[in-house]
């Protein structure tokens, strides 16, 4: 399949735009996680809590948006939980460090000849696109390992 333009656009996309897309999707995922947790996934309940129309709230909940601090603050108050955290070294910050994005933890357990636990090894790896050319074999190997 010839997707020359796709590959060149991805490689030429400025890093700040890539980061904008990634952050927007992170925020969107977090908002939907909280919508499910706090309002059983019902946009109407969130709209009522915010005193806004469902149509207006729906715009915030779908697609890559340019969220303002004001909107995020309103949503955080409505959910009663944080949507974003700021990376800072300050002692009084609420920042929680996340080192692995979308990571999976697989544990390989080998049982010895007499049923004894021979070896336990945990592997944490970040999900990555393969683009059909990277070492997909090693990823297959990991997914075949028994989950902890």
């Amino acid at each position: 399949m010839n997707l020359t333009k796709f590959k060149s656009i991805i490689s030429e996309t400025p890093d700040d735009l890539k980061e904008e897309v990634r952050l927007s999707m992170d925020i969107l995922d977090r908002i939907h996680e909280l919508l499910e947790k706090k309002f059983n996934g019902k946009q109407k309940l969130l709209a009522d809590k915010l005193g806004k129309s469902e149509a207006e709230v729906s715009k915030w909940l779908n697609g890559v948006q340019n969220f303002t601090i004001k909107t995020i603050a309103k949503l955080e108050i409505a959910f009663g939980e944080q949507i974003i955290a700021v990376a800072t070294g300050a002692d009084n910050s609420t920042f929680e460090q996340c080192t692995h994005r979308y990571s999976s933890k697989n544990t390989r357990i080998e049982v010895g000849l007499y049923g004894d636990l021979d070896q336990v090894q945990s592997v944490v790896f970040e999900s990555q696109p393969t683009y059909g050319i990277t070492n997909a074999d090693s990823i297959t190997l990991h997914s075949n390992l028994a989950d902890a």
Binding site: M1, L3, K5, I10, L17, M25, L28
Partner: protein, 161 residues
């Protein structure tokens, strides 16, 4: 009209399998036709669209990344600040079908020039095809003729529209 499905190996990941379709054994798939187009006035939207697709490969396909279009979906949904860069149209549309969080069919699209996609000379044919493919797939799933949990579920799938 015969529709065959083809896996997009270049974009598929361990989390998400992207497919596209070939209509009546055309040399190019629908997504290749989309990729070959020039959207000279919408470079940022196209970059956002392609980066969303790439990022979905990392985190899986979630319904809130898509705009629902009856039996199909569309990408991207971008903020009004980006949309307003082109006041003459309604922005870029790539029609697709979200089957599960790990299976997405990418179709074709163009610049939407009218509010109603059925009236838009540029996207109406792509929109209509997406709806037809979408409902045909929905019917197959409903009739349990398509097992989405199997390995490479659409590889052997041919539908007549």
């Amino acid at each position: 009209m015969f529709v065959e499905f083809e896996k997009i190996h270049d974009l598929s990941t361990t989390k998400l399998c992207f497919y596209t379709i070939k209509v009546n054994k055309h040399a190019l798939t629908e997504f290749e036709k989309f990729d070959a187009k020039d959207f000279l006035n919408h470079p940022e939207e196209l970059a956002i669209l392609y980066n969303i697709i790439t990022e979905m490969g990392v985190r899986g396909a979630k319904p809130h990344y898509f705009k629902n279009e009856s039996s199909a979906e569309a990408l991207p949904i971008v903020s009004y600040s980006i949309m307003s860069q082109n006041k003459k149209d309604f922005g870029l549309r790539l029609y697709c079908k979200l089957l599960t969080d790990s299976i997405v069919v990418l179709l074709n699209g163009d610049i939407k020039t009218m509010q109603n996609p059925r009236s838009c000379p540029k996207v109406s044919s792509h929109f209509n095809l997406a709806l037809k493919v979408g409902s045909a797939l929905d019917k197959l799933i409903q009739n349990k003729e398509l097992n989405l949990t199997s390995n490479n579920p659409l590889s052997e799938c041919i539908i007549e529209l």
